[in-house]
Symmetry: C2
Subunit: 430 residues, 2 copies
Amino acid sequence: MSEIKISSVFEGTQITNLITGIAQKARDASRILAKVTSSPKDKALISMSSAILEEQGFIIEENKKDIEDSKAKGFREPFLDRLTLTPSRIKSMAQGLREVAALHDPVGDVVKMWRRPNGLLVGRMRIPLGVIGIIYESRPNVTADGAGLCVKSGNAVILRGGSESIRSNMAICTILRDSLKKNDLPEDSIQTIPTTDRSAILEMLKLEDYIDLVIPRGGEGLIRFVSENSKIPVIKHYKGICHIFVDESADPKMAERICINAKVQRPGVCNAMETLLVHENIAESFLPFIVKRFEEAGVEIRGCERTREIVPWVKEATEDDWYTEYLDLVLSVKVVKNLDEAVSHIEKYGSMHTEAIITQDYTNSQRFLSSVNSSTVLVNASTRFSDGFELGLGAEIGISTSKLHAFGPMGVEELTTTKFIIYGNGQIRT
Amino acid sequence: MSEIKISSVFEGTQITNLITGIAQKARDASRILAKVTSSPKDKALISMSSAILEEQGFIIEENKKDIEDSKAKGFREPFLDRLTLTPSRIKSMAQGLREVAALHDPVGDVVKMWRRPNGLLVGRMRIPLGVIGIIYESRPNVTADGAGLCVKSGNAVILRGGSESIRSNMAICTILRDSLKKNDLPEDSIQTIPTTDRSAILEMLKLEDYIDLVIPRGGEGLIRFVSENSKIPVIKHYKGICHIFVDESADPKMAERICINAKVQRPGVCNAMETLLVHENIAESFLPFIVKRFEEAGVEIRGCERTREIVPWVKEATEDDWYTEYLDLVLSVKVVKNLDEAVSHIEKYGSMHTEAIITQDYTNSQRFLSSVNSSTVLVNASTRFSDGFELGLGAEIGISTSKLHAFGPMGVEELTTTKFIIYGNGQIRT
């Protein structure tokens, strides 16, 4: 592989031409890729996986240049850690591509078929969306993960990673494209934007005739920037303020296990619990016990008035706390009168991401499942299961908290749409 | 019912406050409506249907004022005809509401359910989208049709019709809201914007926190205006340049019947045929015959060079013709070498709406169905079947030619999304 070259100075319409050219090539590639059956795509994915391992020297070399540049610019840990590609991280990228190859290919599936009174046989067949744009921040593994899921589902992809990881991303992209070519698939199915110029993103977001969907992956700032400037549909994922409601009939041991898991196992992710709601009839027995367990695990508790009557040593929760995604070992706790108050609290302060109820009551379990319209609603299980892999979708391209097209974790199926296919034998409309 | 009052002059932030207030009330109503089971919704729809008939005097009276205003502004036929509500048109609005009541309610359906290795039972349950905005032009029947489909699928709706039909729309809306109230459903589930001020649309399109989806219904100008100015996802439907490919193996009698139906039965609609593609091996026998039939039916033919060698008297088709949706008794005709050339022509000039192949060849039928990625693809049937009612979706809220969320005719199911529901028994993530 040859050294990665990056352009960053553009004049006049150069950047427009560059990005439009990339998008046109992606559209052309997508038309070919859409008609390819699973076997050639899977072969290419497996060959990408091998190539990533074989060429890891090249990847690490380019990654080191990114790290040096970032150090020179004054970036520190944990940013530098997220940027770094170690042999074990490269191995897991390669493993990820193999896992995507092993997934079921949704393209061409007929999801439903029915007969009309006039004899027409009508079905809905899955087809790729076309061209996907992925705009992401520092982790270079998204290059391989995102590209793999797009190729699997027959979509061309345009990748725009953070400027700090541009050499790493381009190195990975070069290897993936090479594998496509060796497998007689159009190499422009995977393209990276070869510049750190931020105006490239704005140019990309205008091209609604060439790009069908944009998926931003990163902090809230990036996601807002993309959705505010895009003419193309955007799958949004702002934040996860996940709630657990411990009902009066909850098994306390189960409630403890699930609450600790949801808050402590990995507090920095979007499906971790941020607010605990406790039924008032169980609060006096359950709260002292669970608060102690949280404190042993290093969690800071911020409680409502009633909570602080029962466990007076905890901090007071302000109105802002109920709206906050801590992404840290902090938890807000509120005592509620009943399930209805829990549901209203979630409606007012929640982010429509993930909520769970812990209960032994049949009616309450069903009422909670029906009334809470978050993207994932659980009974007696940890909010941490709200994840494409854990739910059985295979690898995940993102989590949508907006309801259009997809709601919740998105796998390869969510990178497709359906067309109507109709078998007739001469029918006309009268 | 009392006379409709309309405000049209606003100062400062009045219009912002008016529209935001309407959107907030819609959001609140949508939360209640989302939890309502089918029976109360269906009862309300049937009572709306009766009320429309009982109050038709009031509707016709307000409609007459709209017609007078439009005449005074210089509008003429066919505009005035589209605006006019006759007793028979009111009857069919009422009938439409009854038909929507009889449809299956998708809300709460679990479309899929599977067991994970750890015992979690994971399903996808249909839920309403929330609040739908419908922006439409002169036909006042959209008020009842759109509102009916939204209420059926548990969505609140904000209706913004053309300024020429505002009194008719508000009269219908008043009656529908009254029926909601009498059936103990939130009347703010159906609201009309009570002003002809065009800035109301711009205000509406900003409210992404309150409105989940915008559906424009009308000409290309309206649809472009809405999509260019909306922060909210928009379901687009620009145009239908529908093709029929007559393969060499086609049964000529069937091809004739279908082609005539697709072009002539109702030329002014989006699923009428605009371009006929004929296989070169059948062109010499088929073209003289079908062109004669078209000419008898008053259709003007514009042909490619090869077509004009066979039927020299027809007009020459220009490059522009292949891109044109005539919506009239005009048809462009091209002779192609084979199925591949037909598919390429459709890819280049088509609008991804509806295409059909007429063939007796098994392989070609399957290849056409797989390779053409339009929203509706037919074998041996008229393009005129690309319609929600004809395909069995029940009434139609629109046709999407963009792939996100829905592609093709949209029924009540397309006004819902799915959430993940999960039944556990204490599972935590390890």
